[in-house]
Symmetry: D2
Subunit: 408 residues, 4 copies
């Protein structure tokens, strides 16, 4: 078909040229639902610390699809059967796996739409698209929802070593310039195999898997949970909370219709109408609202908006032990006194919480290594030396944000 013959290509600074594998995939990429991802930043507000990190969910999804092409090639070479229709379904599934992400990706998840995980919204979008595309996405949806009989196909889309993780670690490391987070996606994919319908890594890949886990840990603590983007995101969350609160009290809040829709319907089921409004919502609604709010009368909205826009962030402290409530009270009292506001209002400027990460989480499943004798072994057992079990402990840290000198 002629669309293919044109050899439609994306230029990717990481992988070089990316080819679009089929007309269906081409049409999915052209769809406005997918184009929306161009306006959703991959790493929330991390660009506030890493000025190169303005890459989008759109680019990430295209990158995942590229890696999936490589994975299919490698597995077929190893005589793993993947039918042509399964192949296309894999591409569609990985392309759309993040289509349900809202503004600033994870940063604002559960704030604008409460209680609905982005993967559930992705599924709703996929079902909607399936209707538009005459059921050509049915198999993709089955694989995405883990309802297809070949389990390893789902694992390529969502699992310990799925194409999503392989792309985002590499891409985020690339665009932030934190090169230690870099992983060798090509090598990891080359070592993939399937054993008893389970995606496995061949035994000689043990050091690459170890490296992958340690790189992921580094990216979490040094990048994703970096204290400066953490404080910026917490401020934005508090700002949106305040704006919604005042809006529901009847105070005028300027914002786009789609954002106001979600302010208005905090606990409504996520139906077709919600999906349509969500499809219009992206980073621009949020930032533009924050810019408008810089002149708002409410001191909380006004100050937080200006602080975010001018990057004049609250001070943040991180430590292993929780902060005492007396510390919080003291900070809040100072804010109350300075701004002449209530304790409830002061709480928007003194933010307290915890972050945590497991470098190797086995909640869903293990990373399975295929030993030379043909047995499956959890990577935590396969590593002769690196104590991966220790890496599966949950590490938590506590933070406290509050105004510093220049904010008064």
């Amino acid at each position: 078909m002629s669309t293919r013959k044109k050899l439609t290509l994306f230029n990717d600074p990481i992988y070089g040229f990316i080819t679009i594998p089929s007309p269906l995939i081409f049409e999915l990429i052209e769809h406005s639902y997918f184009q929306r991802l161009r306006r959703i930043t991959q790493m929330g507000m991390s660009y506030i610390v890493f000025p190169g990190a303005h890459h989008t969910r759109f680019h990430h999804a295209i990158g995942c699809m590229y890696l999936m092409q490589k994975a299919v090639q490698v597995l077929r070479f190893k005589d793993i059967s993947i039918l042509p229709e399964e192949e296309e379904a894999l591409y569609a599934a990985i392309l759309l796996h993040d289509i349900g992400h809202g503004p600033f990706s994870h940063a604002l998840e559960h704030s604008i739409v409460d209680g609905v995980h982005h993967e559930d919204i992705s599924l709703l979008f996929m079902q909607e698209l399936n209707t538009n595309f005459n059921d050509r996405l049915t198999l993709a949806i089955q694989i995405f929802s883990d309802k297809y009989h070949k389990k390893f196909l789902h694992q390529l889309v969502s699992g310990q070593l799925d194409m999503d993780r392989l792309d985002y670690l590499r891409r985020d490391s690339f665009y932030t310039g934190v090169s230690e987070g870099n992983i060798n996606t090509e090598r990891l994919i080359t070592m993939l195999n399937v054993h008893e319908d389970t995606l496995v890594v061949e035994s000689k890949g043990i050091y690459s898997v170890e490296k992958f886990i340690v790189a992921r840990r580094l990216m979490y603590w040094s990048v994703y949970l970096h204290k400066t983007s953490l404080v910026a995101e917490q401020m934005l969350l508090n700002l949106l909370k305040r704006a919604k609160e005042l809006y529901l009290k009847g105070i005028e809040i300027k914002a786009s219709p789609s954002l106001l829709y979600f302010f208005d319907n905090p606990n409504k089921a996520f139906d077709g109408e919600a999906l349509k409004m969500f499809a219009r919502l992206d980073d621009y609604d949020i930032i533009q609202a924050v810019k408008l709010w810089c002149d708002h009368d409410d001191i909380v909205i006004n100050r937080l908006s200006n602080m975010i826009i001018d990057r004049s962030l609250l001070k943040i402290k991180i430590r292993e032990k929780p902060f005492k409530s007396s510390t919080l009270q003291k900070k809040r009292a100072k804010v109350m006194k300075h701004f002449g506001i209530s304790e409830e209002e002061a709480a928007y400027f003194v933010i307290n919480g915890a972050i945590s990460n497991q470098a190797y989480s086995t909640e869903k499943e293990n990373i399975n290594m295929l030993s030379k004798s043909g047995k499956l072994v959890d990577v935590a057992k396969a590593s002769d030396q690196l104590n991966i079990e220790a890496l599966s402990n949950l590490v938590s840290k506590h933070y406290l944000c509050y105004p510093k000198g220049k904010h008064y």
Copy 2:
């Protein structure tokens, strides 16, 4: 002073770590005028073709400052005197050289603010900042405006081989993934020298300069003037023109106060008030307005907005000869008939124009090579073989954009 001792760093995917050289520079970067550049994309709408190209003017300015540090180091090593205050002024000047850029950088220049070049606005911002910073920017402004007695300092900020060009060619090549545009900034800087107060390249650098000129030419035709971003930008320009037109006729146009301010004051002098409003204007005002206009009643605004947001662009043809007016008329007639609109309205969908580029322009000045015998030679003469004079011809091409099948 303690700010320096903290070794404040930026992570740059291209150069690695970038150090902030002095407290003044630190404060300039922290200023809200400079922070605004985080919300202005470096390459206009090029990301529509090159999905990695979301880098900002902020990042570019920081990169220029880094290259300036290298240039100062190299020139001092060659015994060229640069005083400490001149050094800091160079950093301030290059950091602020683009601070007057409006939304989408060059793409919308001369549309929102007509008749004022971005460099003039940069100068206004610098003068405003100079007041805030107690005249600590006076020398930077002199160098920027070429009013300082050491001419080569100005050439480092704005000239044939200034740090601006060296950074943007490399950075744009990096983020688009068009690696042929890449230049070896390090080598070019290493070969800089000063002769009779003129910035020169040492003779052995001739091949690097040739390569620089050819890379620049390639970037213009393959990237900056790429037909797909060209059509997107022309559509955006037409959309803004239409919106302003209707707004001035009294029809309701939703947009941010800052954008409406410039709709309202098309021919006003660019005074202090304009500067304040301009300082609030960035890509987000534009894109968010376009999103709101997707529901507008006017068919021109409505269709162009939806086309831009959904990336369903007009078809574009490029060729060496101008298009005939009869061709245009035919295209317009088709649009008039299909949408049932006037010829004037149809003209918004049938766009005609020309693009041109000189790979090596000597308008301002030459690239001066320093021959071994100590004479200055224009690079167009120094190259033994590459016909650089031919490269200084102006090449022009003509384009025509119009709706295709799916738009009807």
Copy 3:
């Protein structure tokens, strides 16, 4: 077949993993004739200037084969027919195209074996291997010798844009660290097509081709003809000439049997015996001989050997005009007096010659661009601006090498 299933891979710092496409190719790589290329440096003595440039003909040949795999993939995608047996023949031909290179590649060509071009020796090796491999290389040999009816296959192996050039420019640029020489092999290959049995570049590739020509020019003058490696190679040539001369006069010269064989048989036809001896000859024979000669009684051999080993090279001057014979005589007279040697001997230390390069040579053929209207145009005509015809002029320079202070 099981050899393939093992997914035998090479790690290439440039391309990532390289897969061996078939058992025949695997066996060719394993053959001792091909393994010899591991001991032949790609860039002669360039490592004396660029300490990273120790890469070998072996690695280059493997890289060419990788690019050929990409080219086959792209052309087939564009519906150009390449039969499976033609595909394998292409891999064999490009893999073996340099198998006839002797020690230090081009640097010593025509000195050890006079009057025989390395491509002729490659052909002899291929014919010898064809006998060993039961005629499985017949088609590869036809393509290599341009005797196959599909001409474009030969052009992929040897032509203006063959895989050889694409790999060596990129590889040499990478290992020397001269990043301006870098070319985007992936983009160039993506733009290849076949028109009337001729390998062409699609019209939009014009800027990449221009860039390729300018990069090649830069690599010649800045790297391949770098004055320091030039002088080193000239000294080595003179040393070998002197050694052979004395050897033929009966003076004892220590060297490996294979090197002495070629000293002994300067004008013999290159027969089967010569091929066997040649197959044992590599950089190690040369360097080890030079090391042994550091203690030789003959002052010419002694001094040149020590100078080369200790990198205490002659001084070299390069200029556009030839040097006068009186200049040479003066230099020689000084050497004669200082070392107390004859004029003939002194001539070994005062070396005079010329180098030349054409950035775009059409001797063999043109670079053909495929215009949108389907016509073939020579790139020199297709470029709207870059004067490629000027680039096809032959540029020559003259050099003079002689001892400086520390050699006396």
Copy 4:
């Protein structure tokens, strides 16, 4: 001084341009002892697996010097006092730290010169050079030998995070193409500090240090101890052992005078004469000897030489448990029978041994982290999760090499 003003540069594919910091350093690099390192490969026979890994000790030493320049810059920025004479001594010490390496670096250590560590030979060379350079290396030698009162200077040259390790991990990762071994040298150096005369890493560098340790572990098991280079090196060791044995029995063994000197003097003290002979010994003596031995009458020498030159290596098995002596006997019996040789001779073809590595060895010292409260903590304690203590266990594996099908 004018040497500096010339801005002598090396092109490094990894770091870009490397500047030579002083005339003394320039002269050291020019010295024939240092130039010899151009003929010693950094990674022994690893190029047999990783065809890009032909980089030399010369290049590594230059790279270390570059990193040392960066380290001095960072530490001085943090107000750590390093006097100009200490700075130059650091550069000299790191430049010469590997000057005592013999052919194939670690691969043949303890075989050609028994019982003398390469660092001891480096010291002898430095003392010899110190005499030539009028005691200008005295301070460098003190730092190198850890006899200078500022201990942290020695740690920069030889310690857990010395410039040697930082360069070799990065360089070996680069040239092999095993990108997972890559470390961010720039970030690690940026986080260095000195506390109580001890080189420390600032606490926020913990994830980079973890990553460094895991990358080092990966490089050991995947690259340095790769089974194919292991077998090649064991074969070479056995071949040299056999050659020496026969030579001492009076059988003719062709080899360079310097190699024969060390065959002749197996247990002699390493005196001035030995140093002179050692200074002439490099990879070329070894490979050229092996090539000559391909025609030797002794079957052990003959076969091993041909196997090495043609890369027709013994089969190798690696496992965690030692191999039984009965397994060895069976393999040897087969070899004895096939070749008609004695058990003693057969032992040269059936090679058994163990390899081991500690990812984090605290034998010499710890990696010291500087906590925020200003205390020194061993990294094994500082890491909240990664079990670095586990990484300090010694991991051992056993190997067995023997002829396979094609060798019979």
